[in-house]
């Protein structure tokens, strides 16, 4: 029995931490718990949620994708450039997602065919991609899209419904939240219900055993990176809709938070698997912390420090949980 309680406590400690953070913010700033602010947190988290969902596939496959920042930017840049050149929003968005998929294709080609490690490959892609962005934008100038169509603007800025009028109680449910929920639901279905999801986890845990069980290891590694690239490009497109412009290197902002969110999520899972509900909790964690620190009036740079500390804390909890998971397995092997 004690063996069961141990890892479970570690598992839920992330949840306790989240609760503690909420309670502290609620005390420090009464506005924090207002419906208006909570809906705010959701809209502010939508883009990160989509990025983190994309990354979840790669981490489930046992890899890492640092180039999500690039997929994000390439998606935004392609969409903005195409629309600037007069293309309709829908084909522009689809082609932009395709551009993100292409980034994933490039990564997985090097990983599967050249057999480089995901970390090094995607780090390289990150450098190359960000340099290309700078070249395309004369050193990093934002690309404005003044005449953006209504439909495109609705992606990131449109509201599904608004309740109440005054500032504090105004509930604004953004369309982007719906996109994030839809993407998350689809991803969750893929990971938890399908043959692809099951076998992706298998290869992520023990690649050789998965391969020798007939799991198409290479194909699914490919899929994971294609999904990650495409989904992160979608997030970038929504981000560019929010700003009605493409701001170079903005994907970077999401990179560490997304990784942190996915790891929080896997620490909540019994098997230590990256999973969508967990990832979303992780995303909310970051959303709540950012929002609460903001309301408490803390300096922006200190907010980053706080986020960094949180990531460390969570990674520590995760590795502690992993150690506990491993321990019984070791002693019982007779």
């Amino acid at each position: 029995m004690s063996k069961l309680i141990g890892p479970d406590l570690t598992r839920y400690s992330t949840l306790f931490a989240l609760l503690a953070v909420i309670v502290i913010f609620a005390i420090v700033s009464p506005a924090f718990l207002s419906m208006g602010n909570l809906s705010n947190i959701l809209s502010q988290s939508a883009v990160l949620a989509i990025v983190a969902v994309g990354l979840t596939f790669v981490i489930a496959s046992g890899g890492i994708d640092l180039s999500i920042a690039v997929s994000f930017d390439i998606g935004a840049m392609t969409a903005v450039l195409l629309m600037k050149s007069g293309m309709n929003w829908l084909p522009a968005v689809l082609i932009a997602i395709g551009a993100g998929v292409l980034v994933g294709f490039f990564n997985s080609l090097l990983i599967v065919k050249v057999k480089m490690t995901p970390f090094l490959v995607t780090l390289g892609t990150l450098f190359i991609g960000e340099s290309i962005e700078k070249i395309m934008t004369r050193g990093g100038e934002p690309l404005y899209l003044p005449g953006a169509g209504e439909w495109f603007q609705f992606l990131g800025r449109g509201s599904l419904f608004v309740v109440g009028g005054d500032d504090g109680g105004r509930i604004d449910f953004k369309f982007s939240i719906l996109v994030a929920i839809a993407v998350a639901l689809a991803a969750h279905f893929l990971l938890s219900r399908t043959v692809f999801g099951r076998q992706l986890y298998a290869l992520g845990d023990q690649k050789e055993a998965a391969a020798l069980s007939g799991v198409p290891v290479h194909k699914y590694t490919f899929y994971a990176f294609l999904l990650s690239g495409g989904i992160c490009a979608l997030a970038g497109i929504i981000g560019s809709s929010v700003l009605t412009s493409f701001v170079p290197l903005s994907g970077r902002y999401y990179l560490l938070d997304a990784i942190g969110a996915v790891f929080i999520g896997s620490s909540l899972n019994r098997q230590g698997h990256a999973n969508i509900p967990g990832t979303l909790i992780g995303v909310l964690f970051f959303g709540i912390v950012a929002n609460g620190l903001n309301l408490s009036g803390i300096n922006f740079y200190w907010q980053s420090v706080a986020r960094g500390v949180l990531i460390f804390l969570i990674l520590y909890l995760d590795s502690a949980a992993a150690r506990r998971r491993l321990r019984p397995a070791k002693t019982k092997a007779a």
Partner: protein, 502 residues
Amino acid sequence: MGNEDFILEMSGIHKGFPGVLALNQVDFQLRRGEIHGLVGENGAGKSTLMKILAGIYSQDSGEIRLEGHVQGRLTTRLVEKLGIHFIHQERQIVPFLTVAESLFLGMEPSFSPFKFINRRQLERQAEAVLKDKLGLNLQGNRLISELTVGEQQLVQICRALLHQPKIIVFDEPTSVLARREADQLFRIIRDLSSKGISMIYISHYLGEVVELCDRITVFRNGARIDTLDTDGLQVEDIVFRMAGRSLEEQFPAKNSQYGDPLLTVKGLTHRSQFRGVSLQVRSGEIVGVTGLMGSGHSELAQSLFDGDGITAGSIEFEGRVISKLRPQKAAAAGIGYMPEDRRRQSIIGTMSVRENITLAGLSGISSLGVIRRKQEQGKVSSLIERLGIRTPGSETAVSNLSGGNQQKVVFAKWLNSGARLYIMNQPTAAVDVGAKAEIYALINSLIRQGAGVLLVTQDLQELAGLSNRIMVMYRGEVIDELDGHNVTADELMVSMMGGRSE
């Protein structure tokens, strides 16, 4: 209480693992300065006993006395302090350290109060110690990775000697040594024994054990069968005690009604491991493949499933030629592979029993790529019951199961995938005795249902007890084919060494 003659007394040691009793009331006594051999089959209990002595496991009941003093709970660190040291292949010393560094690893401060290590001084010290303790001339600045396995072992022994050991345990020390190195090791062991150090010597090479040891304790099925003086002892006496009378009963009666050929291999050649291998497995037949370590039989088993490294030859399964064999193709065609290294190649430790069982046969319980949960659960439950997999439930992580039950999960995986040919690479390695017989019964039931088995193993009893035909490999080639129905372990041994048995 304790007898003065004995440096170590372990009495009434009891140790159970989920589903198996590893040690049943075992008594073991080690005299001062004696060389005491431990023999028994894999899983007989000798390793478990030593792991208890090493502080890796703790006994469920029983008492350990060292020099007459009852010991409480042992830990690996405490054991070392008490003067008990273990020499074995697996606990390798760090390969990129020098001889001197690995010799004094963790003891550097004794040379300088400032933890400042004088490299040259350390190396000279090491050379002196090696010469003095073992009569060995070895340069202190050589890297461990540059040494032969035998030399590495001697460094380990020397390291143990620096700690004023009372007992040294040798676990399969000669299995990878050249003859000359083994002789050198024996000389050293005898020398240490004459200096009053007690030694426990575990080995499968019975001839060597009789020659070297003063006394021998034989284990079988988790029990101590006998402790014998080696004076005038014959190897046959030990074998008889190791195997016991249960040997015959362990193996089910052989099937001799074969069906159509399942697997036909012609002239299969690997990049480096084997050449020109031809064999056939029919439905209802068990074909054994064996050889000395490194003969290519293990690689053959895996290549017949994953196609890795194959440069020539043809593989035909159920009448159809499979070109460019890949694991996916093999699994889809109806071939199941049970790898040698279960933990790394066979099971997904973190995943549940259910997920492991259905991993290779998901297409049968899914539509349009979506898994039908109910159907999966039903199949898994019936397989757990049918194979007698002892697990708290289908959601238990498979790493929490005992070795034998993990192997049964692997059987279930291929049963569920609808495999008709099973390639088994050392199927009972690291499986406890009780589960062994169950696995043999399982193999037999597969055969009776028309499956074919390619049994790759170095366990000669298993090979002779199960196989209809036995192919013997030597240096990458099949050099012999023996009739499995009336073959003896001796004939097999001769053939494996490269000599024709006819």
